[in-house]
């Protein structure tokens, strides 16, 4: 178990100081900050157009550029340095607000940013990323792995895995900035606005998808959890204290769910922490495998693929980012067949599913807490599960997601045409930051995944439950549920 994962779970410094602001609220503040800066473009003030973006490249000199033409004079490297400097300042301030060691954070973040972004740039090399024959011709190449630009996320993940497993001391040195949950939560807050703009054009379809998402999640909770708990208890002989967090971790939403469950049933802290580290490891395998399976088998059911990824991949970071890779792979395959779907719908479906899953964690933890404290480990009155725990466990970053979604939807649908027409471009700038936070998330997940350490800790039995449950049940039931609720629905065609 890496310390980084433990620190990520308990917002507490090594000297025992409890962070005054939670990771969730930090994500809300930072995500909204970027979102608001982006919206300044609606008043013709381009505050974040300098953020760097990467295109598929054959010549490295053409890989990078500023998002906005107004900042073209910066050049690609200038935009990259500006992005690094801005993120360092903002995230350094966040580290200070959380009473972290700012100097250590800045040094660590410098390494995290440059290695992660370099991996992303490598992943955009034409031989890796070009998809269509036209693209190959454009770059003068006759073969490519067709991973799409989003395949750069896989490169970032692999870079993190190499560091975790071959350079553990370096991984330890940069752990201060290895914060996958923080990065993905900021990305999800920003994503709310992007999904709103995407949904605005097809509001009926979007609301249908949301309703189906809720239905799918209720199913996932009720069916997944019960089966995994039974498997862990009956087949593998785990005690209740291990089986409940394990069932929540495998069946619901990894880290957050296992911690909430552990706390609800009053398990020892070590139990959900160990389960969480297992979840992170398996999420890596899922990210490396499932998007490509989705491309092969579900390319003609794009929204089934998005929902399936949201239901099957555990941890927010891995699930939402895997949704991004899946979207890219499926859109590319369809484009090669002459079908051009509007981007955003597959990722939006995966993210919506994941967000609703997060919302339900608090409710499910309360249900388990009620049963445990009243029927299994009957406790004193003051230690029984309380309704306010639902709020305490509510993932607050979702508030940020809802705000950016609502504001984005209002701006796209409720403002005069001359303002509304600029909304996609403005939110697009914020979305470039979202991609960067995805990259940081993938790299961080890799750095937290030290396979050797886990093996030494004797995780074989826990891993066996995970393997049997995930690939023998969760993945398939998730696919069935996704098919029932999303089958036959396709994203709108790109205009």
């Amino acid at each position: 178990m890496s310390d980084a994962t433990i620190n990520q779970i308990h917002p507490r410094r090594a000297d025992g100081v409890i962070a005054p602001i939670s990771e969730d609220w930090l994500a809300v503040v930072l995500g909204l900050f970027i979102f608001v800066l982006a919206l300044a473009a609606l008043a013709n003030v381009d505050l974040i157009g300098w953020v760097v973006t990467t295109a598929v490249w054959g010549n490295l000199g053409q890989a990078l550029k500023a998002t906005s033409k107004g900042y073209a004079s910066l050049g690609g490297l200038g935009a990259l340095i500006a992005t690094y400097a801005a993120l360092t300042v903002v995230l350094g301030a966040a580290a200070a607000a959380a009473k972290g060691d700012v100097k250590r954070f800045v040094l660590a973040f410098t390494a995290v940013f440059w290695i992660a972004y370099a991996s992303w740039v490598v992943g955009n090399f034409a031989h890796f990323a070009a998809v269509t024959p036209a693209e190959q011709q454009k770059f003068g190449i006759n073969w490519s792995l067709k991973l799409t630009g989003e395949g750069g996320l896989i490169f970032a993940l692999i870079a993190g895995l190499i560091i975790a497993n071959f350079f553990p001391r370096f991984a330890e040195a940069i752990k201060e900035a290895v914060r996958p949950e923080l990065y993905i939560k900021i990305a999800i807050v920003i994503l709310g606005g992007f999904i709103a703009v995407t949904a605005a054009g097809k509001l009926n379809l979007a609301s249908s998808l949301v309703l189906r998402g809720v239905a799918a999640i209720v199913e996932a909770y009720l069916i997944y959890w019960a089966v995994v708990y039974f498997v862990a208890r009956k087949w593998f002989g785990f005690s209740r204290e291990w089986a409940a967090p394990l069932a929540s971790g495998i069946s619901i939403c990894g880290v957050a769910a296992s911690i909430a469950t552990g706390s609800a049933i009053r398990a020892r802290p070590v139990v959900p922490v160990l389960v969480s580290s297992l979840v992170v490891i398996f999420a890596v395998f899922e990210v490396l495998i499932l998007p490509f399976l989705a491309q092969i088998f579900l390319s003609h059911e794009p929204l089934v693929a998005g929902a399936w990824i949201g239901l099957a991949v555990k941890t927010d970071g891995a699930a939402v980012a895997a949704g991004g890779i899946t979207e890219s792979l499926i859109l590319a395959k369809n484009a090669a067949e002459g079908i051009n779907y509007q981007p955003g719908w597959i990722l939006g479906t995966a993210a919506t599913i994941k967000v609703f899953i997060d919302v339900f964690i608090g409710i499910w933890a309360f249900v388990l807490g009620y049963i445990w404290t009243n029927h299994i480990n009957v406790t004193q009155k003051q230690d029984k599960a309380k309704l306010r725990e639902i709020w305490q466990r509510f993932p607050k970053f979702i508030i940020g997601f809802v705000i950016t979604f609502a504001v984005g939807l209002y701006l796209a649908l409720g403002t005069p045409a001359e303002i509304a027409k600029n909304v996609p471009a403005a939110i697009g700038e914020a979305n470039t930051f979202r991609v960067i936070f995805f990259i940081l998330t993938f790299f961080s997940i890799g750095v937290l995944s030290n396979f050797r350490t886990l093996w030494q800790e004797g995780f074989g039995k826990l891993a066996a439950v995970y393997l049997v449950s995930l690939f023998g049940f969760v993945v398939w039931v998730g696919l069935l549920i996704s098919w029932i609720f999303f089958g036959g629905i396709t994203p709108p065609l790109a205009s």
């Binding site: 249908s208 909770y221 019960a226 005690s239 209740r240 039995k461």
Partner: protein, 51 residues
Amino acid sequence: MTQSDIREELRGDRSEPLLPIEKKLIGWSLTIGLVLLVALAIFNHFAPATF
């Protein structure tokens, strides 16, 4: 709790039989889940997503 304690605990085979309340939890979750699945699938069939 030391590393070896955890290892021993995880490898151990402490038998802790399913209590009636656990069986109820599993049974009710599955039953409600499957009934809802059928009901929602029927609803979904008659009220498909619209553009």
